[in-house]
Symmetry: C3
Subunit: 350 residues, 3 copies
Amino acid sequence: MRFGQLVQKLGADHHSLIAQTDLDPEVIGVAAIDAASTGMLSYIEGAKFAAQIDTTAASVLILPQDVTLQSKATERGIAWIAARDSRLVFAQAIALFYQPFKLPPGIHSSAVIAPDAEVGDNVAIAAHVVIQSGAKIGANVCIHPNVVIYPQATVGDRTVLHANCVIHERTQIGADCVVHAGAVIGSEGFGFVPTAEGWYKMEQSGRTVLEDGVEVGCNTTIDRPSVGETRIGRNTKIDNLVQIGHGCQLDEACVMAAQGGLAGGVKLGKRVMLGGQVGVANQAKIGEGVQAAAQAGIHNDVKPGEIVIGAPAIPYRVFLKASAVFPKLPEMQKALRELQKRLGMNNQTD
Amino acid sequence: MRFGQLVQKLGADHHSLIAQTDLDPEVIGVAAIDAASTGMLSYIEGAKFAAQIDTTAASVLILPQDVTLQSKATERGIAWIAARDSRLVFAQAIALFYQPFKLPPGIHSSAVIAPDAEVGDNVAIAAHVVIQSGAKIGANVCIHPNVVIYPQATVGDRTVLHANCVIHERTQIGADCVVHAGAVIGSEGFGFVPTAEGWYKMEQSGRTVLEDGVEVGCNTTIDRPSVGETRIGRNTKIDNLVQIGHGCQLDEACVMAAQGGLAGGVKLGKRVMLGGQVGVANQAKIGEGVQAAAQAGIHNDVKPGEIVIGAPAIPYRVFLKASAVFPKLPEMQKALRELQKRLGMNNQTD
Amino acid sequence: MRFGQLVQKLGADHHSLIAQTDLDPEVIGVAAIDAASTGMLSYIEGAKFAAQIDTTAASVLILPQDVTLQSKATERGIAWIAARDSRLVFAQAIALFYQPFKLPPGIHSSAVIAPDAEVGDNVAIAAHVVIQSGAKIGANVCIHPNVVIYPQATVGDRTVLHANCVIHERTQIGADCVVHAGAVIGSEGFGFVPTAEGWYKMEQSGRTVLEDGVEVGCNTTIDRPSVGETRIGRNTKIDNLVQIGHGCQLDEACVMAAQGGLAGGVKLGKRVMLGGQVGVANQAKIGEGVQAAAQAGIHNDVKPGEIVIGAPAIPYRVFLKASAVFPKLPEMQKALRELQKRLGMNNQTD
């Protein structure tokens, strides 16, 4: 593809694109800026990465709207496109060059499908898949090898289930979802009631629902509750190795990074973003647009729009300032003792 | 089922039940209190949830022993049962209405079972299960699709292995256990000895033992040791995505919430309860009845009965008080400096 | 095996071994020191465990180079070997007695292998394995049941893939690697770009590379990037339930303990050691030989050779001292207030 054609294709979506017009190199693929060779397209996100323009062998760069960076690229003979969101335009450029692997339609002879399961048109069902009684699979669904679908589960149109994932009984998965390898959806919530005779197992009669456009990462687990639903809202994206407990309700367009965990009955508002290894306690309500940095431990409700970190989680700036003082605690303790001694006060801080 | 019949069935186990006798509605199912409709049975755990009685559409409620709550329900025409442990009685009510999915007995033709494996009576072995040489499967065992059992493993009577879990060589699983989807039991401990030539792999010749009544969550991993055993005691319940290192010994009736991790050789006494994302360091001994709150990092032994939190873990109350002061550290540092200045002392806390 | 033979076999590698010569018991196996019975070989790592020599029933002990321990063993009639690294010699002794399970060579009839996949000599491919188009499997590779290999992946000679693991498209796995059960290698990086219309999915056109001698734990997930590579260096060992984000570069001989997580683009130098549940933020560069203790949260670059802990991670000794003062914060706050009051200053720390 010539650079001019690329600009045209990307520009269709982005009227704010500015492109250099003096050069028209051949573009043969996409690469990271430090690994790109001649003919490759790459990008930088901001002025912080300016030095990489001096050394890259890329023929084309997608740049932010920053005239200095653009001049730098021009000087080095690199064709460039400037965009309000260079990462988004780069993502769209990747899609022009990359053809993701898709299972060809058809049902492999080794798949075991219950006679009363319903299977839509044009599905791809790979080797050793098991689909049990009463399950309903939509049109154009793609089920990779060794996936197991328990009874009465439903899978919406165009959804992709990667290898070895498990969909438990009664789970409802919407359209255009992706469940990555090894994920387990709709498993029994962890419900045991203490009694004099030991732990009494609470039956988990509820179900898990993924609305349309949800993505669930590898080896992530999403439990169902004893009654009612665990519900993941539209377009919510969940990374690998995440735990979502019974009865959680995630609203639309949330993001949970890897290894985060929600205890039972947690509620996330719209567009909540939780960093890696974040934990949220039972029944906590996290308001719309809240962001929690990695490893935050959220014990209580968080108001909409807050940015929190730490365990127990507190506002981000407060945490950063307090953390900077934390290493000084021994000196502070010593200073306090000296002050107390000087004033003849009792020392109560040892 | 009429309310009267329900009271009779539940009362058989709970002689302390009090039931309203004026009403006898039809009960058709169980639901969460905020989602219940006419005919549904629900519950609340305590006075904190009293307001929900005003708005629920449930026909029957299980309540704690609290006369105010009972009057509230009576006023709204809701039949109620009052119990010492309303959550337990609700769990028992669910079991009256919910029929969990069970694999029908029989061995699917696609299962691959070694000729010298022993399989008990009345087992259910689903599609694509693999049972290797010398394995022993008890009576009434239920093995869901795509489970893999390595050689010489044993599985006790009535145990359920969910889809895609893996039981490694020599593992011993007791009776009445449940291993959830994707869990890996008896895998090689992480043992590498540093040498001048690099990491020397220590063979893991031991085995993992689950005693009777153990439950292991989805995608949880329990390693075996180089010598000896990793042992999970009777009726211990382990949630999803938990890691249990080589040689750990958990006593009976412990509970580990999701994403907790035990390093090698950890010992848990009876009825230890560890919250989500808790970590315990190598060889630590955790006494009987210890409770550790979510994300605790336990570096050392903990005495029986303690309740700890934080990393390093300290007593719960101490942590809560100190955490409340933590955000004030910058102000405290500033105040110290001013005091030092006032008294003409050197500032050593920057 | 007689003790004398054992000494000879172990001594071949360890010229610094000293062995007692008065005794020559039969050695029939290996065991932990507190579980060993007559005929068993065991070991202790240091003087800290000296008391166990008094009570063990082991016939042979591998000891550190400590004359007191050796005398203790001699007094109890226990044959002993003293070594500079008793744990390493014990590991080598285990290998003399333990025959790990290996799949017999051959391709099971239920395996589904694409016609254009290449399979080397002497492979073991177990039941229900799926190998897709264009994949290349080296010689002597061992693939356990229900493993799924996506198109164009390559697996080097002698590598072992345990049950139910998933190798995604284009992944390159070197020789002599071990991928444990349920691990997912080369899955799509978690890349979503925010737009006015919602999350735009960034295609993940890159690949994941495991160099020779890498070991990956059970249910661990290693993503591929949008462009370029995620790369795990030679002889790096990764424990269970670890998350490695898109584009991470781990140099050789690193170790990551269970449940650790690396966000996107993290770089680890040679021989970095990360404890359990450690998290490292996007793009952080961790220098050669860095050690991070369990649960550390690394937000920024770390210089070679540092030992860090805490979140945000700080030097180990600083953290220990500051953590010891942390529980005193309420008393310190109170003392500060009293000092301020005494000097007639405003209280600004409430």
